[in-house]
């Protein structure tokens, strides 16, 4: 497949890998921000072939993982109402709330549907004028333009039976929250290529300077990830800390300007809770007052549903790379991929879920 196979060529990938081995002289802790990158690392076994000095810490960039429990509970409350068609990307359906997940709502008679785009939800809303159609708008900056587009389109058409339950989070504030922690171990970042495709990289320059960390914008194919690691290690070994774009075939410095404009039109920045981390100020989007009629949280009055994370879960500590998953007392006991307690066990890309699989083979 054009634009994919070139970036999966094992011969070239091994060449980059040997270059990483050659230049690495001491231990480094590098965080890949995005769940897509974690997925690629695990899927291709990249973590097993890197120099042992390089520790990859799986970052908070998996939207499934970081969506807080209380928003899942709000979604479940809305989806169970008889007048509602609740629409969502597929992988959110399995994420457990306090008592059940959206699949269970469906089995109890709720109309819960998987869509591949928020614009499909809009279509469902047009076709079902007597139903309230809600789209579960989760994700990072990457999915924000599409979700903003759906709201703007609904407003243009005067559709009144469409709304979005928004849980949008932003990468730069989370990076700052991790870096400013007194126990931070992360020394370099692979920034998320898709997020930068939308937002560009001007927000990252002050972070790189303030915390003296190299930030390398990185793609998702095995070669992309290896090039990102190579450039991060090069900077770490040389003691530099600048923003580098290693995903130049997609990412431009200013990002996607029409997409950014659309986001600004529909969303505004707000405080957000992150599953496993807690509340981070100004770290997400909510629907702006101008479009408040499309905010499902207000429309269905679910703001008062507040849920605390289970105390046994230490996913916040794991997300910061301070502890390994198997050091958690609940790991593999109360907490498994089938019944996860927290963020990092929820998604297959989460660190705990990955360890759960790996530990069994490491034992051999």
């Amino acid at each position: 497949m054009k634009y994919l196979d070139e970036f999966r060529d094992p011969v070239i990938a091994k060449r980059i890998l040997s270059e990483i081995h050659e230049i690495t002289t001491q231990p480094w802790v590098i965080m890949e921000i995005c769940g897509g990158q974690t997925h690629s690392i695990i899927r291709n076994g990249i973590d097993q072939v890197l120099p042992k000095e390089i520790e990859l810490v799986h970052g908070p960039g998996c939207p499934v993982c970081v969506t807080p429990l209380e928003i899942i509970d709000q979604a479940i409350e809305i989806a169970g109402r008889p007048d509602v068609i609740f629409t969502s990307f597929g992988d959110m359906l399995r994420v457990p709330g306090s008592h059940k997940d959206l699949f269970m709502v469906r089995s109890e008679g709720g109309d819960v549907r998987t869509v591949f785009s928020p614009l499909e939800s809009l279509k469902i809303a047009r076709e079902n004028p007597d139903k309230e159609v809600v789209f579960f708008a989760v994700g990072f900056e990457t999915t924000a333009p599409g979700n903003a587009m759906a709201v703007a389109q609904a407003a243009r058409e005067g559709l009144t039976n469409f709304s979005e339950l928004v849980s949008h989070v932003l990468v730069p504030p989370a990076m700052e929250a991790l870096l400013s922690s007194p126990v931070n171990r992360v020394q370099g970042y692979l920034a998320a290529g898709h997020v930068c495709t939308v937002m560009g990289w001007d927000e990252y320059t002050p972070i790189a300077e303030k915390y003296k960390v190299p930030i390398v914008i990185t793609g998702f194919e095995p070669m992309d990830v290896l090039i990102g690691i190579l450039h991060t290690v090069k900077q770490l070994e040389a003691g530099t800390h600048v923003v580098e774009n290693c995903y130049a075939r997609i990412v431009e410095e200013g990002g996607n300007l029409p997409a950014r404009k659309l986001i600004q039109e529909v969303f505004c920045i707000s405080d957000r809770k992150w599953r496993g981390i807690g509340e981070i100020p100004m770290s997400g989007f909510r629907i702006s007052d101008k479009y408040a009629a499309y905010d499902a949280e207000l429309k269905f009055s679910v703001s008062d549903i507040k849920t605390e994370e289970p105390e046994a879960c230490i996913s916040g500590v794991i997300l910061q790379g301070l502890k390994k998953p198997h050091e958690c007392p609940a790991f593999g006991k109360e907490c498994t991929p089938q019944s996860p307690l927290g963020a990092t066990m929820v998604s297959s890309e989460g660190a705990c879920a990955a360890y759960f699989k790996y530990q069994r083979i490491l034992d051999i």
Partner: protein, 349 residues
Amino acid sequence: MDFPEALSCPVPILSHDTVQLAHGAGGKLSNEMIDKIFLPRFTNKTLEKMEDQAILENPGGRIAFSTDTFVVDPIFFPGGDIGDLAINGTVNDVAMSGAQPKYMSVGFILEEGLPFETLHRVVLSMEAAAKLAGVQIVAGDTKVVNRGSCDKLFINTTGIGFVPDGVNISASNLTAGDKIILSGTLADHGMAVMTTREGLSFQSTVESDTAGLNHLVKDMLAVSLDIHALRDPTRGGLATSLNEFAMASNVGIQLYGDNIPVREDVRGACEILGIDPLYVANEGKLVAVVSADIASDMLSAMQANPLGKDSVIVGEVTNKHPGIVALRTGLGGNRIVDMPIGEQLPRIC
């Protein structure tokens, strides 16, 4: 001059265009439906007797017996429909024991209002699939349920076949050193159905691989009766079948990642949806485990059959990591190919 089947075989004229509740009530309308839709297509001496049961000759030896129910949505998809799927699915389940399927029962649950034209189309493809497999439909049942109580039509098929002497195929037979042979490309059926389902806004040319595999199995047994394990990786895909093997035999399985064939268009659809082809359903593929000394002869025999032309050795059985399936990546790393927890869901990003 050859006419397409649809022209040579028009929908029989019935007193109604659609299935009515009365068609399931056992009276005149039931008989009309059986006489005009089912009997002409499934005809054979046993069925024509119209008894409450089929009485079958028993050649002696062991009987392989399997049942499966088909509820696929949509009922027509590129490369097949619920009809040939229902025949091939049970043919394959029986054939994975090494038996040639001989007899089959068919049970229909029809939704009130189903057009007879649709039912007829499904029955025609069942007839064609049964003929290809060489299996006789000797018993049947039809129920009609209220509109909304089922989705168009559901089909149950049960098949029996006779296991040849000397054949002992089982998931618990794997031993270290055995080779794993896959009969062709992965994920064709699952992606054909998924890309046709409502909601996906891209056009796809992916076709289901639905096919009866009993003749391929016969060709394989001609090479050696000593096939250790055999399975058709349907729901849950190759990953699930191999995990079942690894657990049942308490051995490890090492896959060579670069060797697993996936068609280009199927791979594209999987990439877009974020789905791993190892976990996607197939309906016309099998995975065989044989000892290393016969692997290359077995592979050649499989490749000589049109349904096995893309056969390839995809891995081997090992004493390391018992119960676990691992895949060697192009980079030289290893990843675990675990049992899926639930249905595969497209990822957000």
